[in-house]
Amino acid sequence: MLPEYKTSVKKVDNEEKMSGKALFTDDIQMDGVLSAVTVRSKISKGKILNIKLPTLPEGYYFISAKDIVKENVCNIIFSDWPVFADKEINYKGESIGLIVGEDKKICLDLVDQVVIEYEEKEPVFDMKNSAIHKDFEKGDKSVLNDPNLESYTEKFQTGYQEQVYLETQGMLVYLDGDKITVKASMQCPFYIHKAICRTLGYPEDKVRVIQPAVGGAFGGKEHYPSLMGAQLATALVKIKKPIKMVFDRKEDISFTTKRHPSETTISALIDKKGKIRALDIHVSLDAGAYIGCSGVVLSRALIAATNTYKFDYVHISGDAYITNKIPSAAFRGFGSPQSIFAIEMFLAHVAKKFRYPGVLYKNQYLVETGDTTSTNGKFRDKIILKELIVKAKEMSDYDRKEKEYSKPNSYRGIGMSYFLHGCGFTGSGESDLIKAKLIIRKDKNDIVTFYTSQVDFGQGNRTTLKRIVVDTLGIPEDHVIYDAPDTDKTLSTGPTAASRTIIIVGGLAAKAAQHLKDIWVSGKEQEIIEPYVGPDYIHWDEATMQGDAYPGYAWGVNVVEVSFDPITYEVHVEETWSVYDVGHAIDERILVGQADGGILQGLGYGYLEVEEMANGEFRQKTMSDYIVPTSMDAPKMHTAFIDNPFKYGAFGAKGAGELTFVGGAPAVCIAIEQAIKEKIYKIPANPEYLMEILEK
C-alpha cells in the first residue's frame, strides 16, 4: 500500500528540480568566469618558511594571506580559522592560497608547481590539548558518599561522518557595480555575508549573497562556505573578474568539515537492585585544528547527555580538543548523536547486567512533564514520550520479537532508542544573538511577498514556510510570493540550522502574517517587520550551563530490526519503525521525507559509514571508498507522528530535521547486540569491528 499524504501540499520546487531546470551553482553560466584552485599545505603542523611560485602566465594570479584586505580571519562562532594560512600550518590540506585564472587546467598545473618550504613540527593527532572545558551538575551530591553503591564504568567511541550532500561545495563570486555578489551552495547566506564583510572590512551594503538551488547540506554547508566566501572575495577585490570554485568530490571529502569524532566515558553508582543513583558523564570531542563552532557542539552534546532520562544526581563534563586535523564542524544533530549514542548503549548494557529484557530497564528513568532538564531548566511542555513508545512497540511487534530474538543463535535483533532534540539556538540565543526579523509586505494588488534567510537544501521549508503564510492570511497560494534568500532583499531570520526553521522562523512568519491580516486594507501597500520575541521564561547561562537550554524539544522513538550473517559479519537492516512528537505535523509528506532520510543517515552512522584518519589525512576520499547506503541497503521504513501542538511554533510545529537522525545509531547497535549477543562500544559497528568482538 502506497501512502496518501492528506495534510500535504505540492512542493514549490518539484517542477524545476525534476525537470533539471533548477540551476545549482555549477549550472550558472557566466561569461569570462575564472577558475580558482586551492593551494593546500602538505604537512600537518609547522611554519611556512618560503613560498616559491612558478612563473604565472598573464591573467593568472596567486592570492594568499598577503592579499588580505582587512582581517585574516574567517568569521565562524569562534573565529580562529584564518582565511589563508599565513605563517602557521595547523592541518594537512589547510588553504595557503588560490591560483586563479581562465583555464582550470593551467590553474591545476600551476598549483602542482608551487613549492612551499616548511619548518615541520610534531603534529598532535590525539585528544590531549583541551581548548574548551565545560562542567555542570544536577541533584543531590550526597549520594556519592553512599558506601552501598557499586561503581560501573564504560567508554564509547564514535567516528567521523561525512555529509555526502550530493552537490559538492561550490561558489561563484562577481562584481555587480562595486558590490561583491555571491552565489553558492550554502545553508546560511548571512554567515557568508558576515564573513566577507569582516575579512574585507566592507560595510554590509557592499556585499550581496544570493542562494541558487542547493543540493543537500546536512550541516556541511553551514560554515565551510564562509571560508570559501572570504577567500574568493579577497581574490575578487584584486582581480575584479567573476570567479568560480567548485570542488570535485575528492577535494570535498578530503578537506571540508565532518562530524566530530568523540569519546564518552560514563560511570554510574548503582544500588543493589540495579538502580542508577548517580551518573558521571564525560564527553570528549575532536575539534580538529580550529575551534570554530566546536564549543557549541560540545554544549549541545553535554546538554543531551542524559537524553530522555532523569537521575538523582548527574555530573556532566566535556572537552573539545584541538588537534592537527581537518576542523570538525556542523552535521545534523550537532553533538547530540555522539552523547545520545553513549547513554543509550550504556543503559542497554546496565539493563543486561541486571537481566532486564529490552527497554524495561530504561523506562524507569523517563522524564515527565514538569521535570527538570539536565541543566536545571524545566520541561514545561507536555511530554508524550510514553505514548510514542507504546505506538512504536505496537507498530513493530516489539515485545514478541524482542523475546524471540533474545534466544541463542537467532542472528536477528531488534533495538529501540529514545531521544529528544532541542530546537532552535541554545538558551536565549534566538532572542539575544540571532534576533531574527522578518519582512512581509503587500502591494496595491494585494500580492503578498515575504522574505527569510532560510535555505531550502531539500528539507522542503520553502514549501512549508510559504504555506504557513498562505494559510494564516487565508488567501490563494498564487497571491503569495516567497523566493530563495537574497541578502539585499531580506533581513536576517538567522541561519538554516539547529532545527530552528519551522519552530522559530515558521512561528515568526505566522505571527507576521497574522499582524498583516489584522491591519489588512485591500488595495493599499502595507509592510510589517516582525521581530522574534522568545518566550520570556527562557533563561540560560552558557558559562555555568544552567537554565533552559532550548525554547522547545522534539521527541522520538526508533525501532530497528536487523539480521546478521555469522559467516561474513555483515548486518542487514530489515525494517524500521519510528514515532515522533514534532508538535503538530504541518505537512506529513515533507516530514516523512525528513524522517526516512534522517534515520537512514543515522543508521549509516551506526553500522556502515567509515571515515578513518591516518597521519592527518582521511583514508576514504571518494564515494566508492566512503560508503553510504544505497537503495538496496535501505530498509523498509514506517513512520508515525503523534500530535502534540507546541504553543510557540507555527501551527504548533516544532523542529524535525535533526531529531530524525539521532536515534538511528543507538537503535541499530542495540539490535546488532541482540543478534550477536555481545556488547558494542564503538560506531560504526562495521563487519570488521563485529568480527573483532566475536572472535576475541
Partner: protein
C-alpha cells in the same frame, strides 16, 4: 596523446602494431584512473585505442560446449543472454552498478587486473581462456596465466584480447561477494567454490578466492588432493582444507577493510562451502 578509433579488428591490430596504447572499451576503469578534474580531458599517459566502434566483437555464442564471448560484449548482454550459465550471471549481476553493467565489458575487467575484480574469479575457476590477437599472430592463454601480477597481464603491446572462451560445466557451486554494502561496492572478499559428485564421491572440486592476493587464488594442486574422496571423507578433512587455503591467501589491509577480516571471512566462506556439499 593520440586517439585511435578503429572500425575493424584488422585496423585495430594494425594500430597496435605501430603504437603502444591503452585499450579502452566501456571506460569504466580507465576513465576513473585517468580522471583529473571536472571539465578537463582525461590525462592518459599513452595513446588510447577506443574499441567501441569496432564491428564484430560484440557476441555471445556456444561452440562445442564452450561459451565464446566477444571482447566488446557488455555485462548486461551476458546477464540477459540465454547462453550464459547462471553461475556467471550471479557473479556479473553483483558487479558495480546497473549503469556500469550497461557500459562495462568483462574484457576490461580482466585487463584492469585488479585484485578486487569480481569477473576474473569465475573465469579462473572455470579454466576460461582468452584469445589474443596481434597483426601477425593469434594465441590462446588461460586467464590464470594471463594475470601475472598486481595490475599486470601478459598482454604484449601489439596484442589485444578479442574473445573470452569459457567451458560450460554443470558444477554445483557457492558464490559469495562480500562488499561494504549491498550494491555498488568494491569487493572485500569473493568466494566461489564448485564441485561435482558421482556415486557419492567428489569427482571435481574447485575453489577460487578473490581480493585475498594479487589475483584470484586457485590451486589445482590442492584441489586434486580432495578429488576422489567420498563426501564424508571430504567433510572430515575440513581442517586440512582450511589450512591449505590459509597458506595460499595473503590478504592486505586497505581503505575498505583489513587483512584479518578478509582472511577470516574467506575461511568462513570456505567452511560454509564444505558444509554445503551434499
Amino acid at each position: 596523446m593520440n586517439s585511435y578509433i578503429p572500425t575493424s579488428l584488422e585496423e585495430a591490430l594494425k594500430i597496435l602494431f605501430e603504437h603502444d596504447c591503452y585499450i579502452l572499451a566501456g571506460g569504466t576503469d580507465l576513465m576513473v584512473q585517468n580522471h583529473r578534474s571536472s571539465g578537463l580531458l582525461p590525462t592518459f599517459k599513452k595513446d588510447v585505442l577506443f574499441t567501441s566502434q569496432i564491428e564484430g566483437l560484440d557476441y555471445i555464442k556456444v561452440i562445442n560446449n564452450e561459451l565464446h564471448i566477444g571482447a566488446n560484449t557488455k555485462y548486461i548482454s551476458m546477464i540477459e543472454s540465454k547462453f550464459v550459465p547462471t553461475m556467471l550471471k550471479n557473479v556479473f549481476v553483483e558487479i558495480a552498478s546497473p549503469s556500469i553493467r550497461n557500459m562495462a565489458t568483462l574484457t576490461g575487467n580482466i585487463n584492469n587486473a585488479s585484485p578486487a575484480a569480481d569477473g576474473t574469479v569465475p573465469l579462473i575457476l572455470l579454466d576460461a581462456r582468452l584469445v589474443l590477437q596481434s597483426k601477425d599472430n593469434k594465441r590462446e592463454i588461460s586467464v590464470d596465466d594471463y594475470l601475472i601480477g598486481f595490475k599486470k597481464t601478459d598482454r604484449k603491446p601489439n596484442e589485444m584480447v578479442t574473445e573470452i572462451i569459457v567451458p560450460l560445466t554443470d558444477h554445483k557451486y557457492l558464490w559469495r561477494k562480500v562488499g561494504s554494502r549491498k550494491a555498488e561496492s568494491i569487493s572485500k572478499v569473493t568466494f566461489l567454490g564448485a564441485y561435482k559428485t558421482s556415486n557419492n564421491k567428489i569427482s571435481d572440486f574447485r575453489i577460487a578466492l578473490g581480493c585475498v592476493s594479487i589475483k584470484p587464488v586457485r590451486s589445482k594442486q590442492v584441489e586434486s588432493k580432495y578429488i576422489g574422496l567420498t563426501i564424508d571423507e571430504l567433510k572430515n578433512k575440513k581442517d586440512e582444507i582450511v589450512n591449505d587455503y590459509n597458506q595460499l591467501i595473503e590478504p592486505v589491509t586497505d581503505q575498505r577493510s583489513n587483512k584479518e577480516y578478509k582472511r577470516k571471512v574467506a575461511i568462513n566462506l570456505l567452511k560454509s562451502f564444505i558444509d554445503s556439499i551434499k
